[in-house]
């Protein structure tokens, strides 16, 4: 009886969440909050894709913002210079980011641990400096102005409320892709690589090929996020794709728990909303953000069950869950 109710309870919760998320734009929230919601979806794409390489496959990258930038610039330039349709720009941006990820991974995946992290950090800086100095392609520091908003089935998705659905669609699609891919043989192979490369090789996993493929997929998805960002902001410049952005995304992944996609999603939400929630403390805002970052890492480390109030809270949650089951249990008795 216990396992059954658990799954039903989780499905119920999932439906509630889905309804809330789909109807969010219709709840009459202000444009500002909807803009934040769109940014949350974009950061969920970035956090989950970085989690795919750093968490699931265990290959940490400190240059994820470079692919975010490549996606944004390719998509913006294609739509500005060749006036291609939004979806084509997005696909080509993802392809460009994916291919550049693949090209970086080919040599880089021979390295491991700190050295891999530093090479990706170096690559991130190289992309930033090229975006800043290749004046006649990217207009360098002047950035790209007037990027067209996407037009699908005749509707122009310019306002945050409408753009929200584009971001939601791509995010859900990518999350489903990850859920299936990680749940399948390829995902298990990546986790095997993370746990013990030697044993994985003995079990027939082509370590090098899998790591390179994982890195390429993750950079392609960062490219999608870049394209979504460009067509939403309508103006992009290199300052958004610096090293600090990569470390910000990595802190979301680590905060959410390496390897757990749900963790990355929650962390992306919290860390995007946080600076806004702290807006009241204008001069002290970044100081509090830093303190929270350290506090969150330490609280994850401390074993909370030693404290009595944590146990009492847990028992309370268990009782609530039991109450819901018992009420429903009566109806399901026959099938239990």
């Amino acid at each position: 009886m216990k396992i059954k109710s658990n799954r039903i309870f989780r499905k119920l919760l999932f439906c509630i969440m889905a309804c809330v998320l789909i109807s969010l734009p219709l709840l009459g929230l202000s444009n500002f909050v909807m803009r934040l919601a769109v940014f949350v979806w974009i950061y969920i794409l970035l956090a989950t894709s970085l989690n795919f390489t750093s968490g699931v496959a265990g290959q940490v990258s400190l240059g994820h913002a470079a692919f975010f930038g490549i996606g944004a610039y390719v998509s913006a330039l294609l739509s500005l210079k060749l006036e291609l349709h939004f979806l084509i720009c997005l696909a080509l941006a993802a392809a460009a980011a994916g291919v550049s990820g693949w090209l970086v991974a080919l040599p880089a995946m021979r390295l491991s641990g700190g050295y891999l992290a530093i090479v990706t950090l170096g690559f991130g800086q190289i992309v930033y400096i090229v975006l800043l100095n290749w004046i006649d392609l990217t207009r360098g520091p002047m950035g790209l102005v007037g990027i067209p908003s996407p037009v699908l089935f005749g509707i122009e998705f310019r306002k945050p409320q409408s753009y929200y659905y584009i971001a939601l669609f791509f995010c859900v699609a990518v999350l489903l892709l990850f859920k299936n891919y990680i749940g399948s043989r390829a995902g298990r192979n990546l986790m095997a690589i993370r746990d013990d490369e030697t044993a994985a090789a003995a079990m027939g996993v082509d370590i090098y090929k899998e790591k390179v493929k994982a890195f390429a997929i993750s950079s392609a998805i960062a490219g999608i996020a870049g394209s979504l960002y460009a067509h939403f902001m309508l103006f992009i410049d290199p300052s958004k794709f610096v090293g600090d952005e990569s470390t910000a995304i990595l802190s979301m992944v680590v905060l959410g728990g390496l390897g757990s996609m749900k963790g990355s999603i929650a962390a992306a939400l919290v860390l995007t909303a946080l600076p806004e929630l702290l807006r009241g403390f204008s001069r002290y805002r970044m100081l509090i953000y830093g303190i929270l970052l350290v506090a969150m890492m330490i609280t994850k480390a401390v074993d909370w069950s030693r404290y009595s109030w944590y146990d009492r809270m847990q028992q309370w949650i268990q009782r609530v869950v039991q109450a819901i089951n018992r009420k429903k249990g009566g109806w399901k008795n026959g099938a239990a």
């Binding site: 299936n180 891919y181 399948s184 043989r185 298990r188 013990d196 030697t198 044993a199 079990m203």
Partner: protein
């Protein structure tokens, strides 16, 4: 013609010749053991056969086909599946997932099937899960299916590693000191298990220190010392071979045996 044939195997690390001119035959459906004191080069031979080290010279034939210029991960596809001396399991994955990774070399679905979970993928996945559950059941590990294997007891982990190697039903199962660290009745269980595997037609190539286990279940034994083959033969012959005793127990013991005779 044996299932696995090894001729003139040599490997040296810098000046040190770890393995000198080793030739081994492993007939189909038999249990062949390789014994020798510590540092004799047993694990090196093992790593050479499973592609973890490059061979300096020598030939390895599996079912008549030569195994050379293969990457480490291609050996299992050819049917050479192994366990490790000091337990290399995927600690953060569940027991079932560990065995599923063992089976993955037999799965053919490509990325697209995996992303869209289509019929071919679901079929293959169910078949894989069923095979893995059988392997776990064979090793008596069914109740640990959902547990994260990092937390399992040592004996259980040892058997899990064998299950993982077994699930891809390899031509030759290479076990690297499976009995190390097991208590006597666990070793007893292990020997019953290996014998039952032989009944099912598996070919097993074993490295082990536990003489009682080796002598009781092996069909043929090779003895190595300082990288060379000391002697080979039925367990009974090898036990009396003076060179073997000397290698294991030093000069004094041999003299004593001579006086008794």
């Amino acid at each position: 013609m044996a299932l696995l044939e090894v001729y003139g195997l040599c490997k040296s690390f810098g000046g040190l010749a770890a393995v000198k001119d080793i030739s081994i035959m492993v007939p189909k459906g038999k249990i062949v053991s390789l014994i020798g004191p510590n540092g004799a080069g047993k694990t090196t031979v093992f790593n050479l056969l499973t592609g973890f080290y490059e061979r300096d010279s020598g030939q390895v034939l599996l079912d008549g086909a030569a195994l050379d210029k293969l990457a480490t991960h291609e050996y299992i596809q050819k049917g050479m599946s192994r366990t490790f001396q000091n337990l290399r399991l995927f600690s953060k994955m569940t027991a079932l997932e560990n065995v599923l990774v063992g089976y993955q070399s037999r799965m053919k679905c490509n990325d697209w099937n995996m992303i869209f979970h289509d019929r071919k993928y679901r079929q293959e996945e169910n078949q894989a899960r069923e095979k893995s559950r059988n392997a776990l059941a064979k090793l008596g590990l069914s109740r640990y299916e959902k547990d994260i294997c990092g937390g399992l007891p040592y004996g259980v982990q040892k058997r899990l590693e064998i299950a993982r190697a077994l699930v891809s039903d390899p031509k030759v199962l290479l076990l690297d000191e499976p009995a190390a660290g097991l208590n006597p009745n666990e070793t007893q269980e292990l020997s019953k298990l290996i014998l039952s595997l032989r009944e099912e037609g598996n070919t097993i190539f074993l490295i082990e220190h536990d003489m009682r286990l080796v002598m009781s279940i092996s069909d043929y034994v090779y003895v190595m010392d300082h990288g060379e083959l000391l002697s080979e033969g039925e367990p009974k012959q090898v036990r009396q071979d003076p060179k073997v005793i000397e290698a294991y127990f030093g000069k004094g013991r041999v003299a004593g045996a001579a006086e008794r005779k």
